[in-house]
């Protein structure tokens, strides 16, 4: 199984699941639409990557999404962290989309033609996600005193989890200008939790999966 496809598929799937939790709870109606849209893109990417990842041993996208437990998931920890408030969600999206963009760009120019074709599609979408998140991070960082505080708290809390995303220098080159424009402090590097790529997750993921998989697992072998 392509471990790259699995990592990217799991990142996108878990991100989609978290973003979809915002459904009917966004701060404004336009944002309900935007978050659903981004969740749909992530879900679409997840399906492409997981379908490809499963081909080697004859597993479908649903086998991989619904019949693995958290120890078998390969997403980064950042994706599985709870949504928190809107600032946390936007910081997560900014950090994740920047990493996704870099990996998709590399894949699109890479040797695996199938992955390159998928990445050629997903990189366009991820550019929009990155832009959407960046705009919000800037608006919130440079908005009111409260939004600045919340945005800085979100960036501080999530920063450690970005070390797992790989490609640090290129990633920083995407993210740091956004933080600067948002009048936010770029946190110091330090604690660097990891483990997602080895299936050692936070305690949050198994709850997410319990909910996500419940109907599918309750009806083994059923078609939907």
């Amino acid at each position: 199984m392509s471990s790259e496809a699995l990592e990217l598929g799991d990142d996108a799937l878990i991100a989609a699941q978290r973003l979809a939790e915002w459904c009917a709870s966004a701060p404004e109606l336009e944002e309900d639409l935007a978050l659903a849209n981004i969740a749909l893109d992530q879900l679409g990417a997840a399906r492409l990557f997981l379908s490809y990842a499963g081909e080697a041993d004859g597993r479908t996208e649903d086998d991989l999404a619904y019949l693995r437990d958290d120890r078998e998931f390969r997403n980064c920890l950042l994706a599985e962290l709870p949504n928190g408030d809107f600032a946390v969600t936007m910081a997560k999206l900014l950090f994740l989309a920047a990493a996704q963009k870099l990996r998709y760009d590399a894949l699109a120019a890479g040797p695996d033609a199938r992955l390159a074709a998928i990445a050629a599609k997903t990189r366009k979408e991820t550019a929009y996600h990155l832009d959407h998140a960046a705009r919000w991070v800037v608006r919130l960082g440079d908005g009111t005193a409260e939004s600045h505080r919340r945005m800085q708290d979100a960036v501080d809390a999530l920063w450690p989890y970005t070390h797992e995303l790989g490609e640090r220098a290129a990633w920083l080159a995407l993210v740091e200008p956004v933080l600067a424009e948002a009048t936010l402090d770029r946190p110091a590097d330090g604690w660097a939790p990891a483990g997602g790529r080895d299936g050692v997750h936070t305690e949050h993921l198994s709850y997410l999966l319990a909910e996500m998989q419940v109907v599918h697992r309750a009806h083994p072998g059923a078609r939907w």
Binding site: A16, C23, A24, E28, L29, W224
Partner: protein, 310 residues
Amino acid sequence: RLAASTFDEVIAADQKIEPRDAMPEAYRKTLIRQIAQHAHSEIIGMQPEGNWISRAPSLKRKAILLAKVQDEAGHGLYLYAAAETLGVSRADLVDALLDGRQKYSSIFNYPTLTWADVGAIGWLVDGAAIVNQVPLCRCSYGPYARAMIRVCKEESFHQRQGYEILHTLAHGTEAQHAMAQDALDRWWYPSLAMFGPPDADSTHSERSMAWKIKRFSNDELRQRFVDMCVGQAEILGLRIPDDGLRWNEQRGAYDFTAPDYAELMRVIKGDGPCNRQRIEHRRRAHAEGAWVREAAEAYARKHATATVAA
């Protein structure tokens, strides 16, 4: 049409009233009430279906459901925009929803208990909505009629998807079939009630007919819906939970048991299973989003000033 046509001439000629046209205040108010209620229904309607996005049993179904709920948000947006052409602001309409001055469709005050409910809502609730709304595409108020054309197109897509979910379940395992039947059992009468009280008790109807906002009576539409569903239920292999359902040769239509209108009135009044939960959810989302909206405004103000100053 002639620019100088009066309101009554436009209505009589089956043409459209547009935002800048003169219109009776009661017409304007009726439309605002109806369009706002419709918009609110789209927004509140995101909740019962949104309840199953996280648990959708396949990634394909998850994507379809997510897209559907997103469409509902989109419908809400067009409809609020259509209402705004009548001189109200979306913010005021949202306030009227949140403090209970305006209503939303009572159907969304029932809980979604299983995955099959997503199918039943698509088939029955969107089906009933379409039967209600298709005539609105010819409504006398232009912006509303045009919004409804787009809404109806998407709704019929949603209805087919719901039907497909139920079809798959009804032809799946025994447990899936039972789940589908259970959903139909719970959603049938609330769907019939979506057409409103029986004609005899219906307020507003006569004037709305005269103004060509409404084109068919509640009972006419309800009958049309029942007649449409019977054959579809047969193909699904599911039983409509009505012992009184039978073909009436004379009428050329199905006889059926009316929904419990007393229950409908209780739900409209606020005492359905989920009224409090739905409005509480919306209030919380609105309140928790306040700091975000304020920040966006503050940022826009700052940077507008900066641009002007530059």
